[in-house]
């Protein structure tokens, strides 16, 4: 693949490795967890648990403060003594489901075990705080210590977890036998984490991704799905959805009543959606430009079929990043009037201090990671899934560890987790381009990056935009998503949904608890925006439908057929690319 690498590709590689050479330990501040994921996935998760220089600095920091260490040790000793005589007040967080069983409170042996564990964990976490480390090292060591503490939880041990002990007696050990089988199956193939859903829990095209439609265009890179209108009148301007390149598109078309696509179709939109191909080693050279070109091809097809001069665009997560760059390209070439409305969901364009453990991504890491994916030709989605799980070990690892292996239960069937377990590979060139954007935070500076030969200046994108983020999103922090409103040139409506990255997207109306926040003005500071925002009951899907309807032209009769003479339907939705593992 080296021989075919283009000049810009080589420059991007050089930039990344240069950045690696200049890497100041702990001095990097330009990471989002997304980049972190991409960076780590190139190299495997083990590396994250090696403290490296941060560990050395932790030891050095503690050595400088012997008083603090002695104080911690003494405090822990005293607490453990109180635990032994049953006088300790240490108790788990009331919402910590791990210790919900009453045996933890009533059985004196288990109670003491639990209290010793909690006290020791507290002391360990305190030590990191005592060491007086810099921001980066503290985040890194905090992460490692947290993981260690969570791994050592007595609930993870078959001999100490009362629920497991009861079940072992009930089943005569059958749970451990079944669990052992599950363990072998899970760890034989990547991702080497407990499976969160059974492989046959759902079937794509049978009970998820079922909104009727046809594939009207198939290229090497993507399939374009045109959804069949379900209303007699439709909005004249079609809506094109650009899903993330990191997972399958059907996160927006889960089961019936949980599908954003279905909701939009039933609201009278003409919906088109890109379904990316799952690339392999042969497609290593597909970079940002390949995907940008694909979006333009899809726009053209949607325009032609609907016989319109315009489309509305909705980009999601990494799909939103590429779509934004395409918008800048259209602005640079004078074609921006092709887009009637631009929407972004859970997308981060400004990576500066994009939250969460920024210290976990180093320039060196980025360089090593892109090197690794270049050799292989692609970045495996399964490696991403491993990293992702280890970012939230309590929810995504230990919870299933106990359920699958110790209790011997099958994980519950949950459509989002099924989707999550169906990853897409990322081509080496795309991985490099994304890392390059992240390391230089290039989208914030006009002209720092290019799309299809045009310099990218997001300020020139003066189309109305709709920007959605989730308040509990640990992948794309809402404050970072919010900064998009300051970068785009047009009128922005920012909507802050409840819940996290995926659940914010899958937010069907009808949920009593659903709500979102929005405001009339977009001040520069996200905190100020939040203070001025008002809370609206209901799902943002309904708000979005209203916003779209105002911008997607007058209603007209539904088209009589899908596709057109030039775009004959190839096959039914969900198409064939979505099935490539």
């Amino acid at each position: 693949m080296t021989a075919t690498r283009s000049e810009p590709a080589r420059r991007a590689d050089e930039r990344i490795s240069d950045a690696g050479a200049r890497d100041e330990p702990g001095g990097s501040e330009l990471s989002t967890p997304l980049d972190l994921l991409l960076s780590e996935a190139g190299r495997g998760p083990l590396r994250r648990f090696l403290p490296g220089m941060s560990g050395v600095r932790l030891a050095a920091g503690l050595a400088r403060r012997p008083g603090a260490v002695v104080g911690r040790a003494a405090g822990l000793g005293a607490e453990l003594a109180r635990v032994q005589v049953g006088r300790s007040e240490v108790a788990p967080h009331p919402k910590d489901r791990r210790f919900a069983d009453e045996a933890w409170a009533k059985n004196p042996f288990l109670k003491r075990t639990l209290q010793s564990y909690l006290a020791t964990g507290q002391a360990l976490r305190g030590l990191v705080a005592d060491a007086g480390l810099g921001y980066g090292d503290e985040q890194r060591m905090g992460f490692i210590v947290d993981n260690l503490v969570e791994a050592l939880s007595p609930t993870n041990s078959p001999a100490l977890n009362p629920r497991v002990l009861k079940r072992t007696i009930d089943t005569g050990g059958g749970n451990l036998l079944a669990g052992g089988r599950r363990f072998v199956k899970d760890y034989a193939t990547a991702p080497r984490v407990p499976s969160m859903v059974e492989p046959d829990a759902f079937a794509v095209g049978e009970d998820i991704a079922v909104t009727p439609g046809s594939v009207v265009l198939r290229t090497e890179v993507f399939e374009l799905i045109q959804y069949t209108p379900q209303t007699t009148k439709v909005r004249s301007v079609p809506l094109l959805i650009v899903p993330p390149t990191i997972n399958k598109y059907y996160v927006i078309d889960l089961a019936e009543q949980r599908s954003l696509v279905e909701h939009l179709v039933q609201a009278g939109q003409q919906v088109y959606c890109v379904s990316w191909r799952n690339p392999d080693a042969r497609h290593a050279d597909w970079g940002l430009d390949t995907y940008g070109q694909a979006i333009i091809e899809a726009m053209t097809a949607a325009q032609d079929i609907a016989r319109q001069e315009q489309v509305a665009l909705l980009g999601i997560c990494s799909g939103g990043m590429i779509a934004s760059m395409v918008m800048a390209h259209l602005a640079a070439t004078g074609d921006l009037d092709r887009v009637a409305a631009f929407s972004l969901a859970v997308t981060v364009l400004d990576q500066h201090q994009a939250g969460l453990p920024s210290a976990l991504l180093s320039h060196k890491g980025a360089a090593a990671s892109t090197r690794a994916s270049r050799e292989k030709g692609y970045l495996d989605g399964r490696a991403l899934a491993e990293i992702f799980a280890w970012l939230r070990p309590n929810d995504l690892i230990w919870n299933y560890w106990v359920n699958n292996y110790l209790m011997g239960h099958a994980p519950k069937a949950f459509d989002i987790l099924y989707w999550n377990a169906d990853p897409v590979r990322m081509t080496a060139a795309m991985h490099r381009d994304f890392m390059d954007l992240a390391v230089r935070n290039a989208l914030t500076q006009p002209g720092e990056s290019t799309m299809l030969g045009s310099p990218v200046d997001l300020g020139t994108v003066d189309v109305d935009s709709y920007v959605v983020a989730g308040i509990a999103d640990h992948l794309c922090q809402w404050e970072s998503c919010y900064r998009t409103t300051q970068m785009l040139g047009g009128q922005s409506r920012f909507v802050l949904s409840t819940s996290g990255h995926i659940a914010a997207m899958v937010n069907p109306p009808g949920n009593e608890k659903a709500s979102f926040q929005t405001a009339e003005t977009n001040p520069a500071d996200p905190a100020e925006w939040l203070a001025g925002a008002t809370k609206v009951r209901g799902s943002w899907w309904e708000d979005y439908v209203e916003w779209l309807a105002a911008r997607t032209g007058p209603e007209r009769n539904r088209p009589r057929r899908t596709g057109s003479a030039a775009y004959e339907p190839v096959c039914e939705a969900p198409g064939t690319y979505v099935h490539d593992r």
């Binding site: 199956k185 492989p199 046959d200 080693a281 099935h579 490539d580």
Partner: protein, 285 residues
């Protein structure tokens, strides 16, 4: 959406993923229509390391109303890799289960090259369920008249499926037949339409055949069998199909001028032979 009122000539192929014994497999099913609604469908077993798209020309040449099932072997194309290496018998049992899950208690099987090994194993192992067998350009496993060592060496890696230039350069030598006049054809066939899985999938497939041979049990096959082979097939010298046809009790031999992949590249001339065999009344076989 299909339009029921227009009485289609053939039902559309539907690509799906289903999970069989915990392994997610990508399959393509074309249901039978008209006279073929209640007939056993034809299961196609593919050559090594390629996804089922490669068989498209063959499917197009079959009777459009015939039901056809294709699948990607675990670890190849769009199917998830199996957790461990597997013997061919395990795969045959998995395939039988796949067909049962699809609701086909009886079916015909056509095996091409590597898939021919699988087809022979299926025929003997699930003899109640396999009605007729077609073996194309395939051998009897380790006990067969071997190909030239240089051909075997090239078959031992999946590189030809990943590197189009390499595929074009060796296609003539390993596939013979029409590939000799048009090696680009082979490269196109193997590169543009197939989906490549992890390398591990390919090696598991190679490993599945290690130590396996159908020679001892060919006499036990009771199904009517059509054995096809090319006279210019460097991978499977023509002595092999001859041997198979002699050993299988109810076998019919069809030797043709051509190479290893001609059933795909020259489908319009070879597939009618298959159709004729599948349609022939039982007492003629």
């Amino acid at each position: 959406m299909s339009t029921p009122q227009s009485a289609p000539e053939s039902a559309p192929d539907r690509v799906r993923t289903i999970s069989v014994r915990g392994i997610t497999a990508r399959i393509s099913v074309r249901p039978g229509v008209g006279p073929f609604v209640n007939e056993p469908p034809l299961l196609l077993c593919n050559g090594i390391g390629v996804s089922f798209e490669v068989l498209q020309p063959l499917v197009d040449a079959l009777d459009p109303r015939r039901g056809v099932v294709r699948f990607d072997v675990p670890g190849v194309g769009g199917s998830a890799p199996p957790p461990t290496p597997y013997p061919i018998a395990a795969l045959a049992s998995w395939v039988a289960r796949l067909m049962a899950d699809l609701g086909h208690q009886r079916f015909d099987v056509l095996g091409l090259s590597w898939g021919g090994g699988l087809a022979q194993q299926l025929a003997v192992q699930s003899w109640r369920r396999v009605r007729r067998v077609v073996l194309v350009a395939t051998g009897t496993g380790v006990l067969m008249v071997p190909a030239h060592p240089s051909v075997l060496l090239k078959m031992s890696t999946p590189r030809r499926h990943r590197d189009p230039a390499y595929a074009a350069s060796i296609a003539a030598e390993i596939y013979g037949g029409t590939m000799r006049t048009d090696p680009e054809k082979g490269a196109r066939l193997l590169h543009s339409v197939t989906r490549s899985g992890p390398r591990r999938g390919y090696y598991y497939q190679l490993g599945a055949m290690a130590g396996w041979s159908s020679l001892p049990f060919l006499r036990l096959l009771r199904q009517p069998t059509l054995v096809m082979g090319g006279d210019d097939d460097p991978i499977i010298p023509a002595a092999n199909p001859r041997l198979q046809a002699r050993l299988i009790p109810r076998a019919r031999l069809h030797l043709y001028e051509g190479g290893h992949l001609d059933i795909v590249t020259e489908a319009e001339t070879l597939v009618p032979v298959v159709e004729e065999f599948l349609l022939a009344p039982d007492h003629d076989l």
